[in-house]
């Protein structure tokens, strides 16, 4: 032994001196680790960029520019007979109101802008939204006694004025724009300094209806939110009971046979079928075959139900499986039937897990767009609130993601801001649902 050690050649390396090969291996090790860190960081950076882009571009939609002016509601124009008869007042269309508003703005410009560059009140048209007349008309019809008085109104500014205050529209970009010119922007600057043109929080974006292509300043998410709400009600009411029933059968009762295998393979495959295929199914079965109305939240809800069922079944089965067999055995031992043991003992214990899975499934369904395109929820301008619960399910409506898509397709860049803003609202809903799911899991989850 000693001889062998003594005679052996000098070792090439020791623990104290690092050989080139070890150096190389350590370098490879460090490099490999760096790749991993870089990959994780890239993922996180993408997430940050994505969220930052959404916030940066979307926050603008929650602010809107208004012009605060006193409008003289000329009795000679709005109620020619002077009887304050509501039917006569209603006969005056928005065309009757436009000059009054233009006059009011012109007066404000006259008063607040040094050497007024405008010559006629008509030229103020570029500053106000096309919806302003309708806005004033609605107020007058609701309060006919206002006619003949001068009333302060907060009038929606045109989308280009709004864009100018938000930096979307610049003096360069309007060089070839026939709707507005630099003179108007000068006026806006001065009016803003005087506090007549203001940027305020835009409630109408959250509660309002969609508007036509030419007036992005008026468009809001409210109606499509209701569409999504009705769709989610359908999804919840159908997918929770069906999903739970299917999972109970597969997990607790199903015998091991071909039929059960077929169902299981089917469910795992359905979970991976592209969502657009569910849209084709909805179009062919619910609309063409069953004759349900196009664009209706009911149809959207049915399609999304079929799409979320596999998700809910998979998570429900997992939570049923996590209930220990001793619970079932104890129930059976006390004389309960199999059905009683499941419904009285296993199901209540699995409920938190089931609810968590359902909420996550609903959140997925809420953000899904592709199937909605095929059943006609896009291209429809959701400008009216549903009149009642039944109309809410059956009348054409949009949904939040479909509304966002619709805005993204429109030509006016002002609508892009709305689309980003819509995404913020959608994400707020998704985050809320996920947080509820996490809290439910933390609060009620039991470890056996």
């Amino acid at each position: 032994m000693t001889d062998a050690t003594a005679n052996s050649p000098q070792p090439k390396s020791s623990l104290l001196t690092v050989s080139p090969r070890v150096k190389q291996r350590n370098a490879a090790e460090a490099r490999f680790k760096m790749y991993g860190i870089a990959a994780v960081m890239t993922g996180l950076v993408f997430l940050v960029i994505l969220l930052a882009t959404i916030l940066f571009n979307g926050v603008g939609a929650f602010q809107q520019t208004f012009i605060e002016v006193p409008v003289y509601l000329d009795a000679a124009k709005l109620d020619k007979k002077g009887e304050r008869n509501i039917d006569d007042i209603k006969k005056v269309s928005t065309f009757g109101y436009t000059p009054l508003i233009e006059n009011a703005i012109f007066a404000a410009v006259e008063e607040n802008v040094d050497n007024n560059p405008l010559t006629a009140s008509k030229e103020t048209k570029a500053l106000i939204s096309a919806s302003a007349a309708a806005q004033v008309r609605d107020v007058v019809i609701a309060n006919p006694e206002m006619i003949g008085e001068t009333v302060d109104f907060r009038i929606l500014a045109a989308s280009r004025v709004d864009g100018y205050l938000k930096g979307r529209v610049t003096r360069d970009s309007i060089a070839r724009d026939k709707n507005i010119d630099a003179v108007h922007l000068d006026i806006v600057d001065q009016l803003r300094a005087k506090g007549i043109v203001k940027r305020e929080f835009n409630w109408a974006f959250i509660t309002g209806a969609d508007a036509s292509e030419s007036r992005p300043e008026q468009a809001g998410m409210g109606v499509s939110m209701l569409g999504s709400l009705f769709m989610m009600l359908v999804v919840l009411v159908l997918s929770l009971p069906i999903g739970v029933a299917a999972s109970i059968y597969l997990e607790e009762f199903a015998p091991q046979n071909k039929w059960t295998d077929l169902i299981e393979v089917n469910i795992s495959n359905l979970a991976a079928v592209p969502s657009i295929v569910f849209g084709i199914l909805g179009l062919a079965v619910f609309i063409q075959f069953a004759g349900l109305p196009q664009s209706a939240p009911l149809v959207g809800g049915l399609v999304l139900t079929l799409m979320t069922l596999p998700t809910i079944i998979i998570s429900t089965r997992a939570s049923l499986k996590s209930v220990p067999p001793s619970i079932r055995d104890a129930a059976l031992g006390l004389g309960a039937s199999k059905m009683q043991s499941v419904f009285h003992h296993v199901l209540p214990l699995a409920m938190p897990g089931i609810l968590t899975g359902t909420i996550i499934g609903l959140a997925q369904a809420l953000g899904e767009t592709a199937p909605l395109l095929l059943i006609g929820m896009v291209g429809y301008i959701a400008s009216n609130y549903p009149t009642g619960p039944i109309a809410g399910f059956m009348d054409p409506n949009s949904a939040m993601p479909a509304q966002i898509y619709e805005w993204a397709k429109r030509a006016d860049p002002a609508y892009y801001e709305r689309a980003w803003g819509g995404i913020i609202i959608l994400l707020v809903f998704l985050i809320t649902m996920n947080i509820i799911a996490i809290i439910l899991r933390r609060r009620f989850e039991r470890r056996w």
Partner: protein, 490 residues
């Protein structure tokens, strides 16, 4: 009677049945539930199930079948001469239904009586004006054939509804009589109720099968319809995609498949390295704390709806790429003309797939037994050598499965390509050019105003079929590989 009322009546009968059934069982046991075979609840439930279930089942079937039957019989009444040259039977029928609905509305608003609506003559009254008054706008004047068809449609629907009401109520009462008659203290109510509930559970589980059957049937029938109008060989091997709704379209699927695969390859080229290295780092290197923060954050990417990624591609990534590669861009090369391109969609889709690849691979890497790592360390391997030479080869089948699943996601993804990839179908190698995919074309062919019977609309079903078969194949293969791999270590 409106269906909603009928449902409510049947449900009310069910409640009454519950109370009576329970009462009868208790009376038969002299008020002592110990003499009953089952708990009193089951006797009540038994009766109400027998009242409600058959009645509602028949009602649902009736509501589905009746419109189809009436439609067919009324359509048979319309002579071929009444169909305008430019229209189809379907258009005439939709007119008929509109007029019929309008008449119903007029009657319900009190504009006329039911008898008047049945006796209307197109020549004598201006039906269009009449319906416009109650709020139904018609595109053209109502012809005599349409009106009489609408009237027969109405009378048949009315008869059908009446018969349905009678049948449903009769079934509910019959169910009550039968089950109430059977109720006594020795009746095994629990066994019956549990059998029914079990049947309901089986039915719910079968919905998954029904969905698949529905998907396959709706795809197959319309695809066959399409291949009757357009030769299958031209569809599968055609290299031009130029639909024109005027006719004379060329509908070759190859450019679409090429676009789909090109975008998917770019997406996987982004997602697989990043996702795989992230998974390796998180499972082999990161401490529990870093893992607890980074893993959920990366998975947030998976929870973001695809419409958000689509908008990100259209409005952020696309313009960024144009500013880099486009005319007058940062690189000074003019390679890119529009914001939508294969790269735009591919990059963004890659970001979307990162969490998909990383969390699936993470699970698989974690499933590799610790003993294998310990053995490798014991032989003096470094961590990276262990990962490369022991862990990854052991996890390879699972990782391949994960990548295949990600590929199937990429092929089926719709919103990103609709917004980010462009609309032009071409066979080109340039990754900065706009191309289109199968999913994007399904959307564009089915969201227009096309007639559903034209090959230009039906082609969407053939595309859907292609997509379904491709993704299904990938999924089955992936699940097979993953399952086979799992068996090795358990």
């Amino acid at each position: 009677m409106p269906p909603l009322w009928l449902v409510l009546i049947v449900l009310a009968l069910g409640v009454v049945g519950y109370v009576l059934g329970r009462q009868k069982a208790m009376t038969s046991a002299d008020g002592d539930s110990r003499h009953l075979h089952s708990l009193p609840v089951y006797y009540g439930t038994n009766v109400s199930l027998f009242v409600v279930l058959p009645a509602l089942l028949v009602m649902v079937c009736w509501l589905i079948v009746q419109p189809i039957l009436i439609n067919n019989s009324v359509a048979g009444q319309i002579p071929a001469s009444a169909i305008p040259d430019s229209g189809t039977l379907g258009l005439v029928m939709s007119d008929v239904r509109r007029v019929a609905d309008g008449l119903d509305l007029a009657v319900s608003q009190g504009a006329m009586t039911g008898a008047e609506a049945g006796a209307l003559q197109a020549g004598a009254t201006d039906v269009r004006q009449l319906l416009a008054d109650v709020g139904v706008a018609l595109g053209s004047d109502v012809t005599e054939t349409t009106l009489s068809a609408a009237q027969s449609f109405r009378s048949k629907s009315a008869t059908g509804n009446l018969v349905m009401t009678v049948v449903v109520l009769a079934l509910a009462v019959a169910g009550f009589v039968y089950s109430y008659g059977r109720t006594n203290k020795d009746f095994r109510a629990r066994n019956v109720v549990e059998k029914v509930i079990r049947g309901i559970l089986i039915l719910a589980a079968s919905i998954a099968i029904l969905t698949t059957v529905g998907i396959v049937l709706s795809l197959v029938f319309n695809t066959i319809e399409f291949f009757k109008l357009y030769p299958a060989a031209d569809f599968f091997f055609g290299t031009t995609w130029s639909p024109s709704f005027g006719g004379g379209s060329e509908l070759g699927v190859l450019p679409l498949l090429w676009g789909t695969l090109y975008i998917s390859v770019i997406a996987l080229a982004v997602a697989v390295p990043i996702g795989l290295f992230a998974a390796i780092y998180l499972s082999e290197y990161a401490g529990p704390k870093a893992r607890g923060i980074a893993k959920p954050l990366i998975e947030v990417l998976a929870g973001i709806p695809t419409i958000v990624y689509g908008l990100f591609a259209l409005l952020t990534v696309g313009p960024l790429l144009v500013n880099t590669f486009g005319d007058g861009g940062a690189l000074g090369v003019d390679w890119m003309s529009g914001a939508s391109s294969v790269t735009t969609a591919g990059l963004v889709m890659g970001i979307m797939l990162i969490p998909f690849v990383s969390s699936l691979s993470d699970d698989i890497i974690n499933a590799v037994p610790q003993a294998m790592r310990d053995g490798s360390f014991g032989l003096g391997a470094t961590k990276s050598e262990t990962v490369k030479q022991v862990v990854l080869p052991a996890a390879l089948p699972g990782i391949v499965g994960a990548i295949l699943l990600a590929a199937s996601r990429a092929i089926g993804e719709t919103m990103i390509v609709v917004l980010g990839a462009g609309a032009a179908a071409r066979l080109s190698m340039n990754p900065l050019e706009a191309m289109t995919t199968v999913t994007a074309k399904i959307v564009s062919q089915l969201t227009g105003d096309a007639d559903f019977a034209s090959p230009e609309a039906l082609v969407a079903f053939a595309l859907g079929m292609t997509l379904f078969v491709m993704t299904l194949g990938l999924n089955v293969l992936a699940l097979y590989i993953v399952r086979k791999y799992r068996e090795q270590y358990e």
